[in-house]
C-alpha cells in the first residue's frame, strides 16, 4: 500500500459563468520514501492538487470527486479540526508563496518554536534547540543570529528556507513541497534537495515535489507526473519521462529549457497557450498546440494509457502504437 493514494481527484470552482474544473480525474500514488515530481504548464493545477491533499482549498473551491488516502485512511472528508492535526503532524506543506506561511510580526525563531511545541512534546528549551538545528539543516548561515530576525530582514531565499524548516519541524510522513527551491541558488538548492532525499531514505518520508525546474526533477525525483490543463498528461519513471518523453506536451516542455553555452536568439516555445479553464477544447486538451493531432484527438479525451514504464494520456499511444513501444523497451 502506498503512503499517499489519490484516485480520480476532481477540484471545482463554481463561478457565475458556470463550474470551472481545475483538477480533473487525477490519480497517482506515492510510496514511502519516494519523491514524486510534478511538473507542467503554469495554471495546470499542480498547486491545487497539493492544496486539495492538505485540505486547504479556499472556498468556493472544493473537492468534487475522487478519494485521497494517507496510510490507507481517507482524509478528503475529515472535519477541519482533525485535518488540522494531520496537517501539522503527518503532512508538512511548503507553499509556493513563502510569505503566506510566515507571520511578518514575529521573529522566525518564535514561529518555529511555536510549531514544534504544538506538534511534539519537547520542552521550550529543547524546542529552541530543535529550531536552531533545523535552520542550520536548511542552510541558514549564522543561524544563532538569524533565529531572532523578522521575516523582512531575510533575503528571499532565506525566507524560503525558513518555510522549509517550518514544514519539517514535526517530522511529517508526507511533505508537499510547492516550488520549494525557486528562489534558491544552485548550491543551496542542492543542499535542500539532498535533505529531502535523505528524509526519504532515512525516515521513509514521501515527497510530492512541484517544480518547473527539470534539473531539480532529474536529480531528486524517482517518478514524475506531467500535468496539463488539470489532468495528468504523462506519469512515469524519471529517466523515461525526462530522457524519452512520449506525450507531445512533455516533448515540447523539454525543448524549451535554455542551456548555458547554447546561443539562441529565441528559445523554442510551444506555440499558443494552455486553454483557459472556461474553454478547454473537446477531445484532448492539448490538441490546438499539438503537432501530431489527428481526428481522434479532436473527438475523444484520452485517459492515461498504461505503458511499460508509466502512463501517457495521448491517443498516439493507444493499442497498436503502445504494443510497438512495449516491444521496443
Amino acid at each position: 500500500m502506498a503512503l499517499l493514494e489519490v484516485d480520480n481527484l476532481r477540484v471545482e470552482f463554481p463561478t457565475r459563468r458556470g463550474t470551472l474544473v481545475a483538477v480533473d480525474d487525477v490519480s497517482f500514488a506515492i510510496d514511502e520514501g519516494e519523491v514524486l515530481g510534478v511538473v507542467g504548464e503554469s495554471g495546470a493545477g499542480k498547486s491545487l492538487t497539493g492544496t486539495a491533499i492538505i485540505g486547504l482549498l479556499e472556498p468556493p473551491g472544493r473537492v468534487a470527486g475522487g478519494e485521497i488516502r494517507l496510510e490507507g485512511k481517507r482524509i478528503d472528508k475529515l472535519p477541519p479540526d482533525q485535518m488540522r492535526r494531520i496537517r501539522g503532524a503527518k503532512i508538512g506543506a511548503i507553499f509556493q508563496d513563502p510569505l503566506t506561511s510566515l507571520n511578518p510580526l514575529y521573529r522566525i525563531g518564535t514561529q518555529i518554536v511555536e510549531t514544534v511545541l504544538t506538534h511534539t512534546d519537547l520542552t521550550p528549551t529543547k524546542a529552541r534547540m530543535r529550531a536552531l538545528e533545523l535552520l542550520k539543516e536548511v542552510g541558514i548561515p549564522a543561524a544563532e543570529h538569524r533565529i531572532d530576525h523578522y521575516p523582512h530582514q531575510l533575503s528571499g531565499g532565506m525566507r524560503q528556507r525558513v518555510v522549509i524548516a517550518l514544514a519539517l519541524c514535526a517530522n511529517p510522513r508526507l511533505i508537499i513541497a510547492d516550488e520549494p527551491t525557486t528562489a534558491l541558488d544552485v548550491s543551496i538548492q542542492a543542499q535542500i534537495l539532498a535533505l529531502l532525499r535523505r528524509l526519504g531514505r532515512d525516515h521513509g518520508t514521501a515527497v510530492m515535489l512541484v517544480t518547473h525546474d527539470m534539473g531539480v526533477i532529474a536529480e531528486t525525483a524517482h517518478r514524475v507526473a506531467v500535468m496539463y490543463a488539470g489532468r495528468i498528461a504523462e506519469i512515469g519513471a524519471v529517466r523515461q519521462v525526462v530522457g524519452r518523453p512520449r506525450h507531445p506536451y512533455t516533448v515540447g516542455l523539454m525543448g524549451s529549457i535554455p542551456a548555458v553555452g547554447r546561443d539562441q536568439e529565441r528559445l523554442t516555445q510551444i506555440d499558443g497557450a494552455m486553454p483557459r479553464l472556461t474553454d478547454i477544447p473537446r477531445g484532448c486538451a492539448f490538441n490546438p498546440r499539438c503537432p501530431h493531432a489527428f481526428d481522434r484527438c479532436f473527438a475523444d479525451r484520452p485517459d492515461p494509457i498504461a505503458m511499460a514504464d508509466g502512463k501517457v494520456a495521448c491517443w498516439r499511444f493507444d493499442q497498436a502504437e503502445a504494443a510497438a513501444e512495449v516491444g521496443h523497451a
Binding site: V39, G40, E41, S42, G43, A44, K46, S47, E58, Q96, D97, L99, T100, G139, P141, A142, H145, D148, Q153, L154, S155, G156, G157, M158, E179, A183, L184, D185, V186, S187, A190, H212, D213, M214, G215, V216, A218, E219, V238, R239, V242, G243, G252, L253, M254, S256, I257, P258, A259, V260, G261, R262, Q264, E265, R266, L267, T268, Q269, I270, A273
Partner: protein, 375 residues
C-alpha cells in the same frame, strides 16, 4: 565602518594593453544608462535598545551591500548572480530608489538620484524605472482587481486619455504576458503562482519604462512560459530599447538574456564583464565554483557539486578577501587585504589577489562541458 573600499575603476583603460588584447569590457560602455559607484547598504539588526542595555548586547550592522561598482549600458541587459543572501535584491532596491544608500552613488543618465529630492523631480524617474519584485504575491494588492493593479501606473502618470484607453492598454499588456483581457476582472488569488508573476510583469511594463529591474522574474514559471516571457523581454528590448537589470539564480536563463554579467559575493561584485567573457573564461575562484554548479538535465540522478565551505555571514564578514575562507587559492595576503577590482587579460573586472598575481591559471570554463560554442 571599513575605510578601504575597492577604488572606483579608472574611467580610462589601464596603460598599454598587451598586444592583441580586446578592449577592456568597461571601455565598451561609453554612455551608461545606470552607473553605480561605491554603493553600500547597511542594515541595523541590533537587538532592541533595552536588551542592549540589560544584556550588554552590542550594536550590529549587517553589511548587505558593501562597495559595488557597475555600469549598465543603454538598451542592454546586465545580470547579477550569486548565492542567496549575497545582496542582489538590495542592490536592485537601492538602484530603483527604494533604499537610500549608506554610501556611494547611483546615477541615472548622469543624474545622481540623491539629488532628486523633490517629488516633482522624482516622478519622471518613477515612470521610467520599474521593478518586478522577487515576491510577486506580496506585491499585488489582494483587494484590487487585476485591471486596477495594472492600470494604477497608467493612471498615476496620466498615460491614457480616457477610461476606454486605459482598458485597451491593460488588455494589450495582459495579452503580452500570455493572459487574456478577461483576466482583468479577477482578483490575484484566483490565479496560479506563475500567472500572478505575469501580472506583476504586466504592471511593471504599464508605465512604458526605459529601465526595468527584474528580480527573479521567471522563478515561478514553468519552462515553456519562462521561454515566452524571456522571449518577450528580448522583443521589447529590440523594439523599445529597454535596459534591464536581471537577477536570477538560473544561470541558463542568465546566459540567454544577458549582455553583461556581474557575480556578487557577500555584498561585493567579485567579477563582472561581458557575458561571454565571464561564462567562457571565468577568472575569480568563486565564479568558477558557481559555474560548476550548473545543473545538467541529461545526467539523471547526478548529485551536483555545491560550493563547499561555510556560507559567510554579512553581520560578521571575514577580513581580507570575503571569499578567502572558502577559496582553494587563498594565501596570507588574501586573509589580510581586500582585493581591488582589476581588469583581467580577458577584459573582465576581477577582484582577486590570486588572479592579479598570476597564481590562478586561466582554463576552459566548466560551462564548456555543457556545450559552449555548440550552438
Amino acid at each position: 565602518m571599513p575605510d578601504h573600499l575597492p577604488p572606483v575603476p579608472p574611467p580610462t583603460a589601464p596603460a598599454v594593453p598587451p598586444h592583441g588584447r580586446r578592449p577592456d569590457d568597461a571601455e565598451l560602455i561609453r554612455d551608461p544608462l545606470v552607473e553605480v559607484q561605491g554603493l553600500a547598504k547597511y542594515f541595523d539588526v541590533s537587538k532592541p535598545f533595552l536588551n542592549r542595555v540589560f544584556e550588554g548586547a552590542p550594536r550590529r550592522l549587517l553589511r548587505a551591500v558593501d562597495g559595488v561598482d557597475i555600469k549598465i549600458p543603454r538598451g542592454e541587459t546586465f545580470s547579477l548572480v550569486g548565492e542567496s543572501g549575497c545582496g542582489k535584491s538590495t542592490v536592485a532596491r537601492t538602484i530603483v530608489g527604494l533604499y537610500r544608500p549608506s554610501r556611494g552613488t547611483v546615477m541615472f543618465e548622469g543624474t545622481d538620484l540623491a539629488t532628486l529630492t523633490r517629488r516633482a523631480a522624482r516622478m519622471p524617474f518613477h515612470r521610467r524605472v520599474q521593478m518586478i519584485f522577487q515576491d510577486p504575491f506580496a506585491s499585488l494588492n489582494p483587494r484590487w482587481r487585476v485591471l486596477d493593479i495594472i492600470a494604477e501606473p497608467i493612471r498615476a502618470h496620466r498615460l491614457a486619455k480616457s477610461a476606454q484607453e486605459v482598458r485597451e492598454r491593460v488588455a494589450e499588456l495582459l495579452t503580452q504576458v500570455k493572459l487574456t483581457a478577461r483576466d482583468g476582472e479577477k482578483f490575484p488569488h484566483e490565479f496560479s503562482g506563475g500567472q500572478r508573476q505575469r501580472i506583476s510583469i504586466a504592471r511593471a511594463l504599464a508605465s512604458n519604462p526605459d529601465f526595468l529591474v527584474c528580480d527573479e522574474p521567471t522563478s515561478a514559471l514553468d519552462v515553456s512560459v519562462q521561454a515566452q516571457i524571456l522571449n518577450l523581454m528580448k522583443d521589447l528590448q529590440r523594439e523599445l530599447g529597454l535596459t534591464y537589470l536581471f537577477i536570477s539564480h538560473n544561470l541558463a536563463a542568465v546566459y540567454h538574456v544577458s549582455d553583461w554579467v556581474g557575480v556578487m559575493y557577500l555584498g561585493r561584485v567579485v567579477e563582472w564583464g561581458a557575458k561571454r567573457t565571464v561564462f567562457s573564461t571565468p577568472r575569480h575562484p568563486y565564479t568558477r565554483m558557481l559555474l560548476d554548479t550548473i545543473p545538467d538535465i541529461t545526467m539523471s540522478g547526478r548529485e551536483r557539486m555545491p560550493v563547499g565551505g561555510e556560507v559567510p555571514n554579512p553581520i560578521d564578514p571575514p577580513p581580507g578577501c570575503p571569499f578567502h575562507p572558502r577559496c582553494p587559492h587563498a594565501n596570507e595576503r588574501c586573509v589580510a587585504e581586500l582585493p581591488a577590482s582589476k581588469v583581467s587579460e580577458q577584459g573582465s573586472h576581477v577582484a582577486c589577489h590570486g588572479v592579479e598575481e598570476g597564481r590562478i591559471p586561466t582554463h576552459a570554463a566548466p560551462g564548456a562541458k555543457v556545450g559552449l560554442g555548440k550552438g
